[in-house]
């Protein structure tokens, strides 16, 4: 009556296992302790931070937002980006998927301590908000000449 339980399509479990291994590989070792202000993976918007000798660049992947709703503030080396993406959904429609984030968001990042809050610029293009902060000169390694 119940048939064979093992007669199920075992492909499903193979696929789940494969996906788990792919996820592990993509997200890497998670053994590092999380920053105290860090948010769960998958929070909107996703953030990348790049550093060079001269500056720190923060990229927020926030498609379809109105830059006028953004509130960006830098207090010493604490960067806060607040904004809102309010998606206007038409009425009387049937939804099949609703995966996109709608609402208010805030991300708080601790940048390297030598960033200069007086030298910040922000630029929004194609859904990516790029915030650049210059690093203070004093901390750059100085070349010492040998006479």
């Amino acid at each position: 009556m119940f048939g064979y339980l093992t007669g199920f399509d075992t492909d499903v479990f193979d696929q789940l296992d494969r996906m788990r291994r792919q996820m592990d590989r993509m997200f890497g070792e998670v053994s590092r302790p999380a920053g105290i202000r860090s948010l769960a993976a998958g929070t909107f918007p996703a953030v990348n931070v790049g550093v060079s000798e001269e500056q720190v660049d923060v990229y927020l992947f926030a498609a379809g937002i109105d830059p006028k709703t953004l509130n960006i503030s830098l207090q010493q080396n604490l960067l806060t980006v607040e904004g809102e993406r309010k998606i206007q959904y038409p009425e009387k429609v049937q939804f099949y998927r609703q995966e996109r984030f709608s609402g208010q968001f805030r991300r708080v990042l601790t940048l390297p301590e030598d960033v200069d809050p007086d030298q910040v610029s922000a630029h929004y293009r194609d859904g990516v908000l790029q915030i650049s902060v210059k690093r203070r000169e004093a901390v750059r390694p100085r070349q010492i000449e040998v006479k």
């Binding site: 696929q15 996906m19 792919q22 590989r25 993509m26 993976a41 918007p45 996703a46 953030v47 990348n48 931070v49 790049g50 550093v51 060079s52 000798e53 500056q55 720190v56 660049d57 990229y59 992947f61 926030a62 498609a63 379809g64 937002i65 998606i87 959904y89 038409p90 009387k92 429609v93 049937q94 939804f95 099949y96 998927r97 609703q98 995966e99 996109r100 984030f101 990042l109 390297p112 929004y124 194609d126 859904g127 990516v128 790029q130």
Partner: protein, 131 residues
């Protein structure tokens, strides 16, 4: 009303990665339908119109985009939520959609696709004349 109103769009390929090169991001989508068309909105931040590809192959709809992020020279990643710049997702369209008349718009990293239903299959209002 009718039970045959099953999912009009069904995803086909899942993430298939053999190497780092093949890893794609699946963009978040909203899909909804009114009487005339199905609308799909996908988040693909960093993708401009010229780096977007929308392809219909028979019943298969594939959206693909390449994000461009200007990183200056000598920059290292300190933190990365996003590790790849390629988006891809595909769907199976049902026959009632007029795949030859898809309208695509790209603004601020959001792709909006409008897939109209075939004209003869749209609900038609029947006027009743009183006479």
């Amino acid at each position: 009303m009718s039970e045959s109103k099953e999912m009009k769009t069904r995803e086909s390929s899942e993430m298939q990665a053999q190497s780092e090169q093949d890893v794609f991001l699946r963009p978040a989508v909203d899909i909804y339908e009114d009487g005339h068309e199905i609308t799909l909105r996908a988040d693909m931040p960093g993708v401009s119109r010229d780096r977007l590809q929308v392809q219909v192959d028979g019943n298969n709809l594939a959206i693909e985009g390449q994000a461009a992020i200007d990183m200056p020279e000598g920059m290292e990643a300190l933190h990365a939520d996003v590790r790849t710049t390629r988006f891809r997702r595909s769907f199976t369209l049902s026959n009632e959609l007029d795949s030859g008349n898809i309208n695509a718009e790209m603004k601020d990293g959001v792709l909006t696709l409008r897939l109209p239903k075939r004209a003869e299959l749209q609900p038609r209002k029947i006027e009743v004349s009183v006479g």
